[in-house]
């Protein structure tokens, strides 16, 4: 039969050890699939393989058995009858004795024992037989690593799937396991062993059973591994980490209470070790064991545990408290892993056995000593560092105890709280909780800091305890709690103490005073509402204290910040916990008071601080933010009208700040929160209404620009965060105002054919404001938003941009970027093509008369433009030309980003400007030689601006045409522009004269700098000469330092990349020379530093290329060692070493 011969071939190829592993695996898969598809039965397979399974040749027999085992692995869910399974498992059980062919037997046993129950499984008796044979025949530790792993897997499988069968083996089994695991070191095997020992005790639940007598031996085996010391080299691809092993061992440790007599002493001993990881591990293990071993067993070790824990906490904590506003919530100590673990263990112990541990804590010598110690130091800063550390430890221990349970909380308060109050000098008052109309409470000059600190932390722990307890205990039960009673009785004096500590203004008052005072009040104020600890008057008193600090004590920065932060936290606490009773007080006392700051006329508190307070309070909750927004907007409107009507510079300053705050803090927050869509809309509309109604307009020139900038920014952000419908409303509104209440001749502009600049010169400054604001709206809208009457707007924007209004240029760029998007399907007045024709045909942009240059010829034929020489029509107005170029650059950017082809025409115009040949001739003809020089000079600045236009084209802008302002951005547009422009620029540079050459290099530098590095890298070979020429052409002018730096960064990017290095290897010499020149670059430290870093990278190029330059570089670097800047000197040392070590280490040049 063909199949049989095929099968034999497969078997042969698996058994033959000379075949490659992939061939063997393929034949194994083939056999398995035959079996799965029922083309072959297991019986036939076994019969065919008989020779291989029984041969006396060890190698063939081993391979044969392995084949059978592996095949069975593939058949885990295929149904097999019981007889077949029985005979197979019997076969493999026997084979366990055959140490030469062991692996196959192990695989086979595992495969059979792991079968899914649906396909027939091994019987209990057979499983027991496997276990017996295992224990009798296998010497696990004498096997290889992989076989050991298989052995342990088999054992684990037996324990998990046939617990009863193997448990009947009793002592034998446990003894066997002890023997098998003894001395194992491989991490994979250890993971298995730890798991085996973890599940073993479950087999022998009887406390008098065989496990008890072996517990010590087993634990002995485990204890060698603690603490896990993992030294496997990183190169080995282990997917086991130290933490996995440590965790598995922990579960094994805590698997049975029978380990307790051995485990706890061991863990306590290791806890005293000096190795931090051992400490952390011991504490974690102890936590786990505590829970699993139970209270009775742990009680025996109570004292030992407590003293070790105490030591761990005392020695691990830091001695520095930070009094920053950020630490007001939570403990003001840096995190420490050991301490954290120790405290979590302590909490578990206290929960388990409250009485025992609290007895220990209460009578503890060290804690009592700390209490004695704090009473002898008045000021926190007077306490020596070591005692501070101990004080923190006590604080941590006590607050952990308080947090553990209500009972422990009571106990701690009972024992320590009154003592603290004594130290503070506070006395019990009436227990009503009211703030007595007092002053009868004696207030000491200065409170004891240590005691304040301790009592604050106790209070905070107590608050956390009740906040975390899910079930709020009934009110009657509450008052019976000791802590509650104690707190009630001391509350008035305590509140008083905190108040006076926080507002203490004496000469020697310290940050600790304020910090403790504010924190104490904050904690009192944030006690959950269900607990009537804090009555309304007290709560309000606390709020007033904070508010008065915020409004009056602004000169004390720390206190001011603390109080503000505390207010914010109280606000978010009320918002989060729905404290309905406290909310009105908060709104009335805090929010309104703070909001009123925004409009207050007097200058008692600096304006930036007021704004900070406002925006901070706003972020604590939605309802507060609404109030804050109202307040801010009122301030904006009021001050703006001042600016409009009286031109008051004072109001202008204020409104600028408020607007900045509005755009920096409020709008981003609104953007994240839901349900505030109306706010930006209302804001924008209001601003428009206001400017519409202000017929008198006296904004003076000086402060105008700042206000307008801030207004435009706020307007842009507000519009951008509106939905599309709302944007439509704003756009309509603003267009209406623009067309109706300004002197811009929109209608006429629309109709006129020719274009004259003089027409718009009579616009007032109010018109300019309106236009700029309108530009801001246009910049920020969605592509789908409808902007009315595009055409006249185009004319308007273009005339204004010629007057130097950049916002108009940016708006034009945004218009061409977003107009007529196909997907949007919005009605528009005209298509993008029409718009572009209008723009280009206005021929503002043609700076030269008809010349024979190639590009221009192309331009002319493409668009049939009537070439008007702007220069001759409006005189030699360079600034006009510059404005035109800037405007054109923004339009080009808009086109470039959406990937429109017309951008090519615009770049051609720029390129034309960079080539002076035609123009110079004209000048020569028209004007005298004396004026010629002057003209050329002016012209140069225009050319320079044309080169810089490429920076606008390629650079990312924050003010417009970005994602935030909904620009249409085509993927990879920079790459595309780069690859079209570079060849053109390259050929132009080749044939150009010096003046235009440097400008062309400048233009290409801008493009290279803003292109993603990965694209530049792919073209590195061609780009490098341009980069180098650019570096030398631009290195003379101080104004070009940023361009130089950008180019250097590109160069260093190329040098750092593997492919880049290959590409530039040929020009190593030129690169080095250029870099050596830049080492002395006087204008910018970063350039020098980066140049040296590049030189270090050059030293990694091929030896033959760089060796000749060695002396030259070393000489240049020696000079850099004397650089005025430290960073440069340090890089120079690195570079010098890199180059010196190329040949030898000797530095003698």
């Amino acid at each position: 039969m063909a199949e049989t011969s095929q099968l034999i071939q497969y078997i042969e190829s698996f058994v033959d050890s000379s075949r490659s592993p992939s061939q063997q695996a393929a034949s194994l898969d083939a056999i398995a699939s035959l079996l799965k598809n029922n083309q072959l039965t297991v019986e036939t397979l076994v019969r065919e393989m008989e020779g291989y399974l029984t041969t006396a040749d060890n190698i063939i027999r081993a391979r044969g058995i392995l084949l059978l085992g592996e095949v069975l692995m593939h058949l885990a869910s295929k149904p097999l009858d019981d007889a077949a399974i029985h005979s197979l498992i019997q076969f493999f059980t026997d084979r366990l004795a055959d140490w030469r062919a062991l692996r196959g037997a192990l695989v086979g046993c595992s495969a059979l024992l792991r079968r899914k129950s649906s396909g027939g499984i091994v019987s209990e008796t057979d499983a027991k037989a496997v276990a017996e044979s295992y224990l009798q025949n296998l010497q696990v530790q004498s096997l290889g690593k992989y076989d050991r792993k298989l052995c342990f897997e088999l054992l684990q499988c037996l324990l998990e799937r046939y617990p009863k069968a193997v448990a009947s083996l009793g002592d034998n089994l446990i003894y066997g396991i002890c023997e098998a695991v003894d001395g194992e070191k491989d991490p994979h095997c250890l993971m298995l062993i730890f798991h085996i020992i973890e599940i073993l005790p479950q087999l022998f639940p009887d406390p008098l059973g065989p496990f008890t007598s072996f517990a010590h031996d087993l634990f002995e085996n485990l204890s060698y591994y603690f603490p896990i010391h993992f030294t496997h080299p990183k190169g080995e691809d282990l997917n086991i980490k130290r933490d996995d092993l440590a965790r598995a061992l922990m579960l094994a440790f805590s698997s049975t209470p029978l380990f307790e007599p051995f485990a706890i002493p061991l863990l306590l001993e290791k806890l005293s070790s000096s190795l931090p990881s051992a400490k952390v591990d011991s504490l974690r293990y102890l936590s786990d064991c505590t829970v699993k071993y139970g209270a009775d067993r742990m009680a025996k070790h109570g004292e030992a545990l407590w003293s070790s824990l105490k030591d761990a906490v005392f020695t691990s904590l830091d001695s520095v408290l930070s009094f920053t506003p950020e630490t007001l919530e939570g403990l003001c100590l840096p995190e420490n892993e050991i301490a954290a673990e120790a405290l979590s263990l302590l909490q578990k112990l206290i929960v388990q056995n409250t009485n025992l541990f609290l007895d220990l804590i209460v009578v503890d010598e060290d804690i009592n000593m700390i209490f004695n110690m704090i009473s002898s130091y008045k000021s926190y800063h007077g306490i020596p560092a070591q005692s501070k550390q101990r004080l923190h430890a006590v604080v941590c221990i006590l607050s952990t105890s308080v947090k553990a349970s209500t009972a422990s909380c009571n106990r701690v308060f009972e024992c320590f709280f009154s003592r603290l109050m004594d130290i503070l000098g506070l006395c019990v008052r009436n227990s009503s909780g009211n703030l007595s109309p007092d002053d009868s409470i004696m207030i000491p000059e200065r409170y004891n800091h240590g005691a304040l600190y301790l009592s604050i932390e106790l209070l905070s722990a107590c608050r956390d305890l009740i906040a975390s307890s899910e079930t709020i205990i009934a009110a009657s039960a509450r008052t019976e709690e000791t802590w509650s009673y104690l707190l009630q009785s001391f509350l008035p004096s305590l509140t008083k103490a905190f108040c006076s500590a926080s507002i203490c203004t004496s000469e020697d008052s310290h940050d600790a005073d304020m910090y403790f005072g504010v924190k104490g009040l904050l904690i009192l104020a944030t006690f959950p509402e269900g607990y009537l600890l804090i009555s309304k008057p007290v709560f309000e008193k606390i709020l007033t204290t904070f508010v008065s600090i915020v409004t009056v004590d602004y000169s004390n920065t720390l206190l001011w910040k603390l109080a503000l932060k505390a207010l914010v936290q109280i606000g978010s606490f009320i918002e989060k916990c729905h404290e309905s009773e406290k909310e009105p007080s908060y709104l009335g006392l805090v929010v309104e008071k703070i909001v009123s700051l925004s409009s207050l006329g007097d200058f008692s508190i600096p304006f930036p601080l007021r704004l900070e307070a406002l925006s901070e309070i706003g972020t604590s909750g939605k309802s507060y933010m609404l109030k804050v927004v109202e307040g801010l907007e009122e301030a904006i409107y009021a001050n703006l009208s001042e600016v409009y009507v009286h031109g008051s510079s004072n109001s202008a300053e204020i409104v600028t700040q408020v607007l900045k705050c509005y755009s920096d803090k409020v709008i981003p927050w609104i953007h994240c929160a839901n349900g505030f869509e109306e706010v930006p809309l209302q804001f924008a509309i209001h601003i428009w209404n206001q400017i519409e109604n202000s017929m008198v307009f006296n904004a003076t020139q000086t402060n105008k620009i700042e206000v307008l900038d801030a207004m435009m920014k706020a307007m842009k952000l507000a519009v951008a965060s509106c939905s599309q419908e709302n944007q439509n409303i704003i756009a309509q509104k603003s267009y209406h105002i623009l067309s109706s209440s300004t002197s811009f001749p929109l209608k006429e502009l629309f109709q006129q054919e020719s274009f004259q600049i003089v027409q718009v010169d009579n616009s007032s400054s109010r018109d300019e404001w309106i236009l700029s604001l309108f530009a801001a709206v246009v910049i920020a809208v969605h592509p789908e938003t409808y902007v009315p009457n595009i055409k006249p707007l185009l004319y308007l924007f273009m005339t204004t941009l010629l007057k130097g209004n950049v916002a108009a240029a940016q708006a034009l760029g945004s218009v061409v970027n977003k107009l007529g998007l196909k997907s949007a399907g919005v009605q528009t007045d005209c298509t993008l093509e029409e718009v572009m024709d209008i723009i280009l045909n206005l021929s503002l942009w043609i700076f030269q008369s008809n010349s024979s240059s190639d590009i221009e010829a192309k331009m002319a034929s493409a668009h049939d433009i009537s070439l008007i020489n702007l220069c001759s029509s409006i005189g030699s107005c360079t600034s006009l030309q510059i404005h035109a170029i800037v405007g054109l650059a923004w339009i080009g950017k808009g086109l470039l980003m959406r990937g429109h082809e017309k951008v090519k025409d615009i770049t051609m115009i720029f390129l034309q400007c960079l080539q002076p040949n035609g123009r110079a001739e004209i000048l020569h003809q028209e004007e005298g030689i004396s004026e010629n020089n002057n003209e050329l000079d002016l012209h140069h600045s225009v050319m320079k601006r044309a080169a810089d236009a490429f920076q606008i084209l390629m650079g990312d802008s924050e003010v417009c045409l970005n994602r935030g302002f909904h620009a249409v951005i085509r993927p990879l547009y920079k790459q595309r522009f780069f690859s079209t422009m570079m060849p053109i620029l390259q050929s132009l540079i080749m044939k150009s004269e010096p003046l235009s050459r440097s400008l062309l290099l400048r233009a290409s530098a801008h493009i290279i700098i803003d292109t993603p590095l990965i694209v530049v890298l792919s073209d590195a070979k061609k780009i490098i000469p341009m980069v180098l020429d650019g570096l030398s052409a631009l290195s003379n002018d101080i104004l070009d330092k940023d361009v130089i730096y950008g180019l250097l960064l590109v160069l260093s990017g190329i040098l750092m990349d593997k492919n880049g290095q290959d590409a530039v290897s040929d020009s190593a010499h030129t690169i080095t020379n250029r870099l050596i020149e830049l080492i002395q670059y006087p204008h910018m430290m970063l350039v020098r530093e980066t140049a040296i870093q590049c030189l270090v990278a050059v030293s990694g190029l091929s030896h033959a290329r760089i060796y000749p330059m060695r002396t030259q570089v070393l000489r240049a670097i020696a000079k850099a060692l004397d650089d005025p800047k430290r960073a440069v000197r340090q890089e120079a040392v690195r570079c010098r070493q890199a180059w010196a070590s190329i040949a030898s280490r000797s530095l003698h040049i």
Partner: protein, 154 residues
């Protein structure tokens, strides 16, 4: 011939954290002791795989500098009184400083007063130009110095 280590069991101290300098964008950064210390603190001890900082041979206070006169003075403390490695350490310091600072700085290297049995002769040897040059031409010594300066063992 194995003489064993001169100081078999030195006291190892913790490394101090490096201070990140706040850069002043304008103005010049004068050479200060910390800058010099940052260059020399990681030189490895000739005997042990620890840095001079870890062995407390050097500290920031042991460096003084006068930028106007162009003088650097380093005073180091050998771990034990009879340390024959003191000259090697001094040599390492000198080579390192020569690499890191322009030649116009005059470098003086001394052992701390009272820290070495043969203080005077060690100081003389360390500041003798010709003996330093001669030492650096000795290939064995040169190799030892290079190992200390460029070692990756730390």
């Amino acid at each position: 011939m194995t003489l064993g280590l001169i100081n078999a069991n030195p006291v190892v101290h913790a490394k101090k954290e490096r201070v990140a300098r706040s850069e002043d964008p304008h103005g010049e950064d004068a050479v200060d002791p910390l800058e010099i210390y940052d260059f020399v603190r990681d030189i490895r001890d000739p005997e042990h795989p620890y840095s001079l900082e870890q062995l407390s041979v050097l500290s920031e206070e042991s460096v003084t500098v006068d930028e106007k006169l162009g003088r650097i003075l380093i005073t180091f403390t050998p771990t034990i009184q009879h340390c024959s490695m003191a000259t090697v350490i001094g040599l390492c310091l000198r080579v390192k400083l020569k690499e890191c600072f322009p030649p116009h700085f005059k470098v003086d290297i001394k052992v701390a007063p009272g820290s070495h049995a043969d203080e005077e002769s060690v100081n003389k040897q360390l500041n003798d130009k010709e003996r330093v040059a001669a030492a650096l031409e000795n290939p064995n010594l040169r190799q030892l110095v290079d190992e200390c300066l460029y070692s990756n063992e730390l």
